[in-house]
Amino acid sequence: MRRVAITGMGVISAIGHDADAFTRALDEGRGGLAPVEGLDDVPRGIPVVGQVRGFDAAARLGRDRLPMLDPFSQFGLAAANEAVAMAGLDIRADPALSQRTACIIGTGGAGICTLQDGFVRLFRDGRHRVNPFSVPRAMGNAACSHVTMVHGITGPSFAVTSACATANHAIGLGFHMVRGGTVDAAVVGGTDALVNFGNLKAWEALRVVARDTCRPFDKNRTGMVVGEGAGVFVLEPWEVAQARGATILAEMIGFGMSADAGDIVNPSVEGAARAVRACLDDAGLGLDDVDHINAHGTATTANDVAEARVIRSVFGDRAGAIPVTSTKSYTGHALGAAGGLELVAAIHAVRSGTIAPTLNVTELDPDCPLDVVVDERRVADVRTVVSNSFAFGGLNAVLAIRRAE
């Protein structure tokens, strides 16, 4: 099996519209949760969101392209463009590589903005027509397809969906395809555009949204905060990346998956723990090899306690010695993009030797007995990171990366 290098990353989020801005916000402990902007009406019970603000889609993607792009495709394509540029690859110019490149871009909500706009026209405004491109804008594979078209990727390409674990599933599949030799490059990640009235109403209706803000592992946490964005990566065989002199951001070393087969919203400790163990096995990691965990860390009562139990059940006595952080305290829960945003944070941790603190924590929950990094960023010799995603529906996907060395 081949070693796999991560040679490009791109990100759109509430804390930055590229990887530089994103990691700078992490360094400065600057979160992006704030009241909704730009909507005519804000649902009650949504005090803050992790909204992508001031994103200049025309400047990033070209005005001509926009009519076909739902915001979820805009975010995904912009992140993919950044990742491919960072990798220094011109996929289209090399037909052999093009056919041996995979593109897997997942999404949770897909074109929910486009659907909502259409429904508002039909059912509220009494209009008789919807946007002529409603179907190609809203379809779940739209972001993936646009990335293939822009970059001339002609190999295995599709979208995956598993709610909050989507990006990790997409990234992990691409990793296995590169590692096993099915493809010679993969552009992988997740994207979601979720800050719109109807979707916020839906989250509020489920009664899991925070009253104030996102406080992962805090005793006084009151729930999750809806976020949005995209995180996309370029994966290549290690030797190929090295031979062409690419900057290797990190090595991808493990991917584990599982299904709880339990409850549609309540997480299972046993199911999630199996995904973490599967990831460690896939990477050939022992319990002592993990230096840091980027938690799923949604800040709901149910998730954080369950995740603490997962970590304790997998790592046993060592659990309290592994620094844990939740990037969602910066970005909100970007659902299908969450694992992508968190992988950028994980890569930054191995590259910088620092772990960004979990924001908004005032008092750690004794029911979450973990070494949660709070208050200020921690300098640490971070060689190996595990990044958890445990989705609604009980679908779990866990990634592991190692410092490039």
């Binding site: 009650r44 019970g45 009151t222 729930g223 919203v265 309540n266 009562t301």
Partner: protein, 84 residues
Amino acid sequence: MSTLEDKLFDIVVEKTGLERERLSRDANIKDLEISSLDFVEIVFAVEEEFDIEIPYNANTMDSDFETLGDIIDAVRTEITKQQG
């Protein structure tokens, strides 16, 4: 029994299948084994019935609502607010 209480108990029975005899102002929600998802449905039905919004959060349910009486009071407060 007030009409409000009556309506609320109707909703609880419909959503949970609990026997009506077990429901009272003092009945503890945990003892009744009403799941958090059932509770989300109950609150939604109550909001629809009375055309109000109840500030209910599943994350803090245990501390906010202990008994059925707590729900009745919350509904009454919201109705009063709306009329005020």
